[in-house]
Symmetry: C2
Subunit: 119 residues, 2 copies
């Protein structure tokens, strides 16, 4: 989880191990969010600008911008400026392969998790 390479790089920048755990919490915390999961699910179909996401989710613009800021900060999405629009898309190199594994895990564990919750 916290590899030697990450430790080394982060220490060079003046961050300690406890702070690195904090970064992991921010990373996973970004995915523990109903609205953000819905944005990710929406972006699976391709890039969308903010207004399209707002419409797709039926949410407020400011709320969506906040969520996108967090997704971007964690490297899950990339943004491209296109005239007056800002298009967001899933980061091909990080979240896409991650999602494949998560899907595989969830197809095995989703029902177990849901059953345990119902009790």
């Amino acid at each position: 989880m916290i590899t030697k390479a990450i430790l080394k790089d982060c220490r060079k920048e003046g961050f300690d191990e406890e702070e690195i755990y904090g970064a992991y919490k921010i990373f996973f915390g970004t995915l523990v969010s109903h609205p953000r999961l819905r944005i990710i699910n929406l972006l699976r179909k391709g890039r969308k600008n903010v207004s399209e996401i707002v419409e797709g989710l039926g949410a407020k613009q400011t709320a969506v911008s906040h969520e996108l800021a967090r997704l971007k900060r964690c490297g899950f999405v990339d943004m491209e400026v296109d005239k007056k629009f800002r298009y967001y898309k899933l980061n091909e190199k990080t979240i896409k392969p991650l999602m494949g594994l998560i899907d595989a895990h969830m197809s095995k564990n989703c029902i177990r998790i849901l059953r345990a919750e119902k009790k």
Copy 2:
């Protein structure tokens, strides 16, 4: 994120799409936790029983058992009974490959996340 296969399986069990988002929240939420991340990091070195984990973390036994229960419920760890001890280990098939990708992502994004937080 929520694939057709997962949707189908879960519907068969009487769960709807909103509940599946809930399962994802439980899944990722399990990793948004300082003590649980430390347990995972500890188990990287090999299986450990509860007392060893308690000692390794300097935490209370009841707290550790609670964390382990959640990790197990989400399929991140497996447990083996060995006489009067209970050994926990990372689930080879799920979290181990997941961690490889997460490490790759974090080595690229960790510092960016930490810098953004410091502001």
